[in-house]
């Protein structure tokens, strides 16, 4: 009733005559957002995640910026952590335990560093993202955005440290004259796989952490155990053949072995890698599902 039917040729003029401030009143026919208990929120809304990609960028950027503020050594810490661990491992396991003869001809320091590089990234990413939601309580209770962005940003920030520590690996490889092969093409895929696994584990733990603060205490312990269960300072073939299959159900086994194969040109164990990829996908899907389920109560209980 408000708008009398107008001839078609006049509508164009009408639109032009409308002052811009009224555009806000031309409401869409369907709601932009429907808020209801349950259903509408439970689906994984990838389009919404995409819409918030800039926030992911800014939160990652903040984590990176803040991490080394007011430290004397700054970004050098990203290298120091794997470097010193490598030196200690070289002395302890390489020399004293005599592991340097079992690395398939690769000098132990570079062998250990190639394992420590993804491991340090994974361990830090899981730890920081596992604690990220609780640490962002002020955001969660005050602003809406897809909560997955918070643990996601922690993992992404870890990637920055990873790239810095990677520079040292290049140096080590040159120093020990490790020949490069086409296997290197696998490297980016492995980085992606590591990130996704870290995201899956970190996201799941972060959501649990909101409800059960036990996670905060269990996390460092869990991470330590996980390191011993992964071929970080020892080669996988150190294990007896019959146990190796069980061992490979730790998705990091295929991934870390993959890193070494890719860097040192050793044959790639495709079955182990495929198993890791499958386990990572399963972990990620389960984590996303349970995160969405727990997400609804975050603001009320964090």
């Amino acid at each position: 009733m408000l708008k009398p039917a107008a001839p078609a040729d006049q509508t164009a003029i009408q639109i032009e005559a409308t002052p811009p401030k009224h555009t806000a009143h031309n409401l869409p026919d369907t709601p932009v957002v429907v808020i209801q208990p349950g259903s509408a929120w439970s689906a994984l809304n990838l389009r919404e995640l995409w819409a918030y990609r800039e926030l992911l960028f800014f939160l990652t950027w903040r984590d990176v910026k803040v991490r080394y503020k007011q430290t004397a050594l700054g970004v050098a810490w990203a290298i120091m952590q794997p470097l010193f661990t490598m030196l200690i491992f070289s002395l302890l396991f390489g020399r004293l335990a005599g592991m340097n003869t079992k690395t398939g001809g690769i000098p132990y320091p570079v062998f250990a560093y190639a394992g420590l590089l993804p491991w340090t990234f994974f361990a830090n990413a899981v730890t920081t993202s596992g604690n990220s939601l609780v640490g962002s309580a002020n955001l969660i209770t005050k602003v809406y955005f897809p909560r997955m962005i918070i643990p996601g940003a922690s993992v992404a920030a870890g990637l920055v440290d990873f790239s810095i520590a990677f520079v040292l690996l290049i140096g080590l490889m040159f120093y020990y004259k490790v020949a490069l092969t086409w296997n290197l093409l696998l490297f980016p895929v492995l980085v992606l796989l590591t990130s996704l696994l870290a995201l899956g584990v970190g996201m799941w733990l972060s959501a649990l952490n909101v409800k059960y603060r036990d996670i905060r205490f269990a996390l460092p312990f869990l991470v330590q155990l996980w390191m011993f269960a992964s071929p970080v300072f020892y080669p996988s073939n150190l294990l007896p053949e019959k146990w190796r299959v069980v061992f490979q159900f730790n998705p990091l086994v295929g991934i870390i072995d993959g890193y070494r194969s890719s860097l040192f040109g050793q044959p790639i164990d495709w079955t182990a890698l495929a198993l890791s990829a499958l386990l990572t996908t399963l972990m990620l899907v389960y984590a996303a599902y349970s995160f969405r389920r727990m997400e609804k109560t975050f603001a009320d209980i964090v």
């Binding site: 806000a24 009143h25 208990p37 800039e54 800014f58 910026k65 955005f145 009320d300 209980i301």
Partner: protein, 436 residues
């Protein structure tokens, strides 16, 4: 017109003490799990599930595009919960909300500010957290900095900012959000008065540009000034919804503002010393009714009921008035000649102080009640923030405000007698002389 916000039968249930209970540890959950079947056998469930409250109960309203609507109610009335649901921070238990536009919420000033980052960096971080795109922020950057008046410190970490600068920057970012629906919670209760005024003006501009604003506050005066329409919440329900001056009157009548009376029935919990024990502190209007909302033009009585447990002391009851910014507005002490400088016997006393109408400014006033001895000085009891009341201008023309709707600064607002004479047609200033 079609509504931009449509709320239907919205309810939200909280578990009392949910914060503590839900923290839980795995062990507790496992123990609960093991215990649950036995409890069911005994015909009772765990205490936690029984202790629930409805923060919102069957709430419904519609808001048209371009409306600026105030939401008011006392603490726990559900006004913050409705805002949290509308901004999707928490989920309703039942009901439905339809939003026909992008929502921006401002539940706190400076959400996500990081002290280690500079002003410049925080503008980008905070802007993106509040839902602004990077290009949006870049294009409004200079405007935000100018609005916050922090040009010189833009590359200084915000941890070195004064609290005023911090708040100004935080609000400046928020004020430049341009969502179709803006949700604002009490954030204006910060910053100095001049900056508050600036923010209010900016918010009014937002309303005029056709944006829809929902403004939650316990400050009735801010709401009547800013919002043509107000929704009054009480105990999770909509008590009243209509033009602000009508709702304001209802708010006044219901006395929903604050704790207008404190009575200590349990003497062991009452503020007391060996000499004096407080029994009650009340705020009454001129008709003698206990109410927490006062008309600015009417006198207010503050009443203190106390017991003298040990006779023989000279006692002076006194009241301390602080406004919502925490400023000490004034102190008043009993000067009734009947008891001035006279030792009091044991027994019950009631002391009342009358504050004349048109003295206090609009806003919330916290009253501390004390009983002291002057010489030697002994503070027998002092209950800070014993009661509180709100001073509201109903804009009926009997106050300083008259029909002016803007911000009036000042800690008090006395209605003074003014006299203006027309002296002469020619106004040459005579140096050193007084005009005749």
């Amino acid at each position: 017109m079609k509504p931009i916000v449509k709320v239907e039968h919205l309810s939200k249930q909280y578990q009392i003490g949910a914060r503590e209970a839900a923290y839980g540890t795995l062990r507790e959950s496992i123990v609960d799990l093991a215990r649950a079947p036995f409890q069911r056998l005994r015909g009772r469930t765990s205490d936690a599930t029984n202790q629930t409250i409805w923060a919102l109960k069957d709430v419904g309203f519609e808001i048209e595009p371009g409306e600026v609507v105030g939401i008011i109610g006392r603490n726990g009335a559900g006004k913050s919960t409705i805002l949290k649901i509308l901004s999707r921070i928490t989920e309703p238990t039942t009901g439905k909300v339809e939003l026909y536009g992008r929502v921006g919420s401002l539940l706190e000033v400076g959400t996500g500010f990081h002290p280690e980052l500079t002003g410049r960096e925080n503008i980008f971080l905070n802007g993106s957290i509040l839902g602004m795109g990077r290009h949006d922020i870049t294009s409004k950057f200079d405007e935000i900095v100018a609005f916050a008046e922090i040009e010189k410190f833009i590359d200084t970490p915000v941890k070195r900012y004064s609290s005023g600068m911090y708040v100004r920057l935080a609000f400046a970012v928020a004020a430049h959000l341009e969502p179709e629906i803006m949700l604002i919670d009490e954030v204006l209760a910060v910053g100095d008065a001049r900056f508050q005024r600036k923010c209010l003006t900016k918010m009014q501009d937002v309303g005029k540009q056709g944006h829809t604003v929902l403004f939650v506050s316990h400050n009735m005066s801010a709401i009547t000034r800013l919002c043509p329409r107000t929704i009054l919440f009480d105990q999770g329900r909509v008590l009243s919804d209509g033009p602000s001056h009508v709702v304001a009157r209802e708010y006044l009548r219901e006395g929903l503002g604050t704790t207008a009376a404190r009575e200590w029935t349990d003497s062991s919990k009452a503020p007391s010393s060996e000499v004096v024990r407080l029994r009650a502190v009340r705020v009454r209007d001129e008709k003698g009714e206990v109410t927490g909302v006062m008309d600015i033009s009417k006198p207010i009585a503050i009443e203190m009921e106390f017991v003298v447990l040990q006779g023989g002391y000279e006692l002076t009851p006194n009241y301390h008035f602080l406004n919502e910014q925490g400023e000490y507005v004034f102190v008043t002490a009993d000067n009734d000649p009947a008891w001035f400088n006279r030792p009091r016997p044991a027994g019950c006393f009631i002391s009342t102080a009358w504050i004349p109408g048109n003295l206090l400014a609009e806003g919330t006033m916290m009253v501390g009640a004390a009983v002291t001895t002057r010489e030697p000085e002994i503070i027998h009891v002092f209950e800070r923030d014993a009661v509180a009341f709100q001073v509201v201008d109903s804009m009926d023309g009997n106050s300083v405000r008259g029909d002016y709707s803007g911000h009036i600064p000042g800690v008090i607002r006395p209605l003074l007698q003014w006299e203006t004479r027309y002296t002469s047609e020619q106004c040459e200033i005579v140096a050193g002389g007084t005009p005749r």
